[in-house]
Amino acid sequence: MRRDKQESQSQFNRRTFMLGAGGVGVFAAIGSQLYNLQILNEDQYRVLSDNNQFSFRIQLPTRGRILDRFGETVAENRDSYRIYIVREQAGDPVLALDRLSRFMPLGEARRERVLRELARTPRFQPVTVAEGVDWETFSRVNLHLPELPGVMPDVGEVRTYPMPAAFAHVAGYVQSAPPEIAGNDPLLRHPAFRVGRTGVEISRDEELRGSAGSLKVEVNAFGRVIRELPEQSRPAEPGRDVTLTIDAASQRFATERLAGQSASAVAMDVRTGEILALASTPSFDPNLFVLGIPSREFRDLNENPYRPLFNKAINGLYAPASTVKGMISLAALRHGVMRPGERVNCRGSVRLGDRTFHCWRREGHGAVNMHDAIKVSCDTYFYEVASRLGIERIRETALELGMGQLFDIGIPMLSQAGGLFPSPQWKRARTGQGWTMGDTYNVGIGQGAVLSSPLQLAVMTARLATGRAVEPTLYARPVAPEFPRLDYDPAHIEAIHNAHVGVVHEPGGTSYWSLGGLGVDGVRMAGKTGTSQVYSISAEERARGVRSQDDLPWRLRNHGLFICYAPAEEPRYAVAVIVEHGGGGARSAAQPARDILRDLIIRDPSGRAGRIAARHDPIQLAQGGR
C-alpha cells in the first residue's frame, strides 16, 4: 500500500514535470513570436501602424492672381463663407436645420439635399449647407453659434473677377475639373478645387495653379481626425501671378464704349505688339461659372443672338472690306503698277464682262489719285489696282501684313481664327472652279472670300503704322522686341500713312465729318473705315421700298469696321473695331474706335502713365451706341 502510494506519487511528479516542461516550451514559443513581431519585424509593423494612425489631407494651393499691366486685379481669390453642419454634434438634423433657418434662408430643396447628404456621410463629417454666403448672414450665424450645435461656419477661397464684363473673355474663368480631366488626381478631384476652363485661366493654368500641400493628420479607426500635425506637413505652394499687357482702364473703357452692341475692339501698342485692350461685347459674368452656373442662365447666354460667350475680338471673322485699301495700295506701289499721282476715273461702277461692279458712291468719285482713293474709299480705283496687281501679288502683301495668319497671343483661339486670304489654289480646292478677274476685284475691296479677325486688323494697322512685322502678345516680353522692318520703301509706307491721316483730317475723308480728328490738342490720328457687306439688297426689295440698311432686320445689316492709330507723327497706339450689323464703318465703328484711341493717347499706358492725362479732363463717352 505504501509502495503503491510512493509509486503513484512519483508517477504524478514525473508527469507534472513533463507538463511543466511543455509549459516552458509554450512560453518559449510565445516569447519567440513576441520577439519576432516586436524586434525582427518592428519596422514593417511600425509602418503599418503609422499608416493607420496618420493620413494626409490635401491642402489646396492659393491660385495666382491675374493682373493688368499696372497691377490692377483682374482675377483674385476672395474668402467664401460656407456653412457646414455636422450630424454628430447637431443631434436631430431636422431640428438642427429648423434652428438654422431662423438665421438664414433655407429653401425646401436645399433642406432635402442637406438631409440626404447627412444620411449618407459619416456622423462626424461636415456637410455643406450653403456656399458663398453673404457676410451679413455669415456673421449672424456666427453670432448665434452657441444656439446652433453642429453648425460649423468656415472660410475658404473662391475665384472672383472684380471686372467681370470687361475681362470675361480675356481672363476666362475656372470651374471644377470635369471627370475626364480630373482622372485620379486627388487635387483635381477635390470638390473645392477649380481649374482654368477658358482664357488666360486655362492657357496659364499651370503657373496659376501652384502645387498642393499636404496636411498630416492623426485619424482614428473610424476616420475621424483627432489632431493636425502642421509641423510634419508640407504647405501648399501658391500659384504665380500672371501679368497681362492689358490696361484695365482701356479694357473697361472699350467694353463700356461698345456696350449694347455686338462688337469687339483690339487696342495695341504698335512698337511692342502689346495688346492693351481686347474687348468683346456683350459680355457675361464669369463669376457665375465658378460655383456652377444654373442651366437656365447658361442657355440664355448660349442662345443670345449677340453671342456673349464668343470672343469676337480674336475668333470673330469678317470681311475686312475697305480697311484693306491701304494695304492694297502699298502692294501697288511696291510693284509699280500705279504711280501715286496717277488718276482713275470713277463713274460709280465698272463693267467686267457681263457683270457690273459698283462703287459705294453710286454717282462716282470722278478722277481720283491714290491718296484720294484711300481718303474717300473709292471702290472703282481699287478694282483697277487689283486687276493690275493680280491676286498673287495682293496676297503676298496681305500675308506680310498679317492677314490669313493665326497669332498666338496666349489664350485659346479657334483654329480657324487665322481667317482667310483666298488664292486661286484655294478656290479650286474649295469649289472646283477657276479664279476669275471678278474674284480679284472683290479681294481688291476686301470682300469676296476674305475673312479676318479684329486682332488681325489691329496687327495689320500696327504694321502699316510702323512698317515693321509687329507681333501681338498678351504678356509682356522680357526684352523689348525689335520687330524686323518689312520689305517696303519707307516712302511708300509714308504715302499710305498720309492717306490714312487724310481719311480723318482732310475734307472729303470718309471720317472727316464724323470724327474730324482725335479730340486731343496737337495730336492727329490716322484711320480707315470699312463696311462689310452681309446681305445685298435685291432689286425686288428695292422696289418694295427697302432703301437703306436701316430698313433691314438687324442680322442682315452690314458690319461696321474701323482701324486707326495715333499719334500720326509718331505712331504708338493702334485700334481696330468691328461692330456687327452696325451699318457703315464711318457711322458705327469709327466713333467708338476713335474714343478708345483718344483714351489711350490721354492716359498713355505704354508711356509714363498719366503724363498727358493731367492736362485733360476725364473723357466723356461719345453719343450713340448704348
Binding site: 516569447g31 520577439y35 514593417q44
Partner: protein, 381 residues
C-alpha cells in the same frame, strides 16, 4: 521527495503563517498590471474599467485567502454536489439563458448574472480530484475507472460547446484530460486516445463548427487575405504588437489602441495593448509573472501529500496556464481568435473570481499540503 514531518496547521494564525506570501505577491502584481492597463484603455481615467477592476480584484483577493483557509476535506465533501449543481445550471442556461454576443452563456438570478461555465471549471476540477482520490490507483486504467471521469468531462464539454462557447469548452475538456493523465492513466490508453481524439477533432473542424467559428479558423490560417474583414482583429493586433518594438510607444501612447484600431482592448486584446505601450520588455515581464505563478503552482502540486490536493492544484494550474497560453498566442496570431481573457489583467468579473478562487485552492493546498483526507469521506465524515 517532500517529507511530511510538519503537522497541518489547524488555527488561523498557523495557517496565515503558512500562506505562500511570495505567491500572493505575484498575484497582486499581475492584478496591478491589469489596473494599470485598464487605466490606459480609458485614456487615463479610472472610469469605467480600472476602478471596477481594482475593486473586484481586491474582493477577489479576500475570497482567495478565505478559500485558502478552508480545510481540504470540506472541498472534498463539496466536490460532487458542486459538480451536479454546475451541471444543473448549464442545463438551465441552455433552457433559459440570457443571450449575449450571439451565445447563451449567462444565467440571470435577479441581482446576480453568472456564467455557469465558470463555476463548472472549478467544480469539474474538484469532482475529478475527488474521484481519483477515492479510486485505487490500479483501477485508473481499467474500464470501470475510466467511464465515470470520461462522462464527467464530456457532459459539461458538450453543454458549454453548445452555448456556443468553444473556447471555454476546449479549456474545460483539456483541463479534465490533463487531470486524467496526471491521475496515472496508462500510456497504452493515452496514445490511442490521442490518435482517436485527433481524428475526431479533424472531423469536428470539418463538419462540427458554426459558421463564425469556421471563419475564425480560416482567418487565422490566412489573416492578411482579408485585412478589413474577419482577419482585421488579428492584423491590427499584430500591427500593434509589432509597432511596440523593444520598449513600446510609452504608457497611454499606444496609437493602435487609443485610435480604436485595436478591438476589445479592455478584454481579450489587453496583452496587445500592453505590448504596444511597453514593448517586448513589458510583454516578457508579464509572461515572466505568469511563468513564476505557474512554477509556484507546480511546486505546490508536487509538495502535496494527498491525491486530491495534487489533482486540484494541477487542474487549476492547467486551466490557468491554458488561459495565459491561448490568450497570448491568440493576440500574436499563433492560434485562432477565441474569446479567452488574460487572467487577472483582462476586464471581466466572472473569470476574475473563478481564477482567484482557483488560486485560493492552490494557496490552500500549500497550507494543507501535509493533510491526508480519508477516502470516501463526506463533509462530516
Amino acid at each position: 521527495m517532500p517529507v511530511f514531518t510538519q503537522p497541518v496547521p489547524r488555527d488561523l494564525r498557523g495557517k496565515l503563517f503558512e500562506v505562500n506570501w511570495a505567491f500572493v505577491l505575484l498575484i497582486v502584481l499581475t492584478g496591478s498590471v491589469g489596473i494599470l492597463m485598464l487605466y490606459s484603455v480609458a485614456g487615463g481615467a479610472w472610469d469605467p474599467w480600472a476602478i471596477r477592476h481594482a475593486t473586484r480584484f481586491g474582493a477577489g483577493l479576500a475570497v482567495m485567502l478565505v478559500v485558502a483557509m478552508v480545510p481540504p476535506r470540506v472541498w472534498m465533501a463539496l466536490a460532487y454536489p458542486a459538480y451536479l449543481g454546475a451541471l444543473f445550471l448549464l442545463v438551465m442556461v441552455e433552457l433559459f439563458g440570457v443571450t449575449a454576443m450571439g451565445a447563451q452563456r449567462w444565467i440571470d438570478l435577479g441581482p446576480i448574472r453568472m456564467q455557469p461555465s465558470e463555476i463548472m471549471k472549478i467544480a469539474l476540477v474538484l469532482a475529478l480530484a475527488r474521484y481519483y482520490h477515492d479510486l485505487p490507483p490500479e483501477n485508473v486504467s481499467r474500464p470501470g475507472g475510466m467511464i465515470i471521469p470520461l462522462m464527467m468531462i464530456v457532459a459539461p464539454f458538450l453543454l458549454i460547446a453548445k452555448q456556443p462557447d468553444l473556447g471555454t469548452a476546449v479549456l474545460t475538456g483539456a483541463t479534465g484530460a490533463v487531470m486524467v493523465f496526471l491521475a496515472g492513466l496508462s500510456w497504452k490508453i493515452i496514445l490511442p486516445g490521442i490518435i482517436a481524439s485527433g481524428a475526431g477533432g479533424l472531423m469536428f473542424l470539418r463538419y462540427g463548427l458554426e459558421e463564425y467559428q469556421r471563419a475564425r479558423v480560416l482567418t487565422f490560417l490566412n489573416p492578411e487575405n482579408d485585412p478589413l474583414g474577419a482577419g482585421y482583429h488579428i492584423m491590427q493586433s499584430k500591427i500593434a504588437l509589432g509597432s511596440g518594438g523593444l520598449t513600446g510607444k510609452g504608457y497611454m501612447q499606444g496609437t493602435q489602441a487609443h485610435l480604436n484600431f485595436l478591438p476589445e482592448k479592455q478584454t481579450d486584446f489587453i496583452f496587445t495593448m500592453l505590448g504596444e505601450e511597453f514593448g517586448l520588455v513589458g510583454g516578457l515581464a508579464v509572461l515572466t509573472l505568469y511563468a513564476l505563478i505557474l512554477g509556484h503552482c507546480l511546486i505546490t502540486a508536487m509538495s502535496c501529500r494527498s491525491v486530491f490536493l495534487r489533482l486540484v492544484t494541477m487542474g487549476v494550474t492547467t486551466t490557468f496556464a491554458l488561459y495565459v497560453f491561448i490568450n497570448t498566442a491568440m493576440v500574436m496570431g499563433l492560434v485562432p481568435v477565441v474569446g479567452v481573457p488574460l487572467p487577472m489583467i483582462s476586464y471581466g468579473g466572472s473569470v476574475m473570481f473563478t481564477v482567484l478562487i482557483g488560486l485560493g485552492l492552490i494557496l490552500g493546498a500549500h497550507i494543507h499540503r501535509a493533510a491526508e483526507p480519508p477516502k470516501g469521506a463526506g463533509l462530516f465524515g
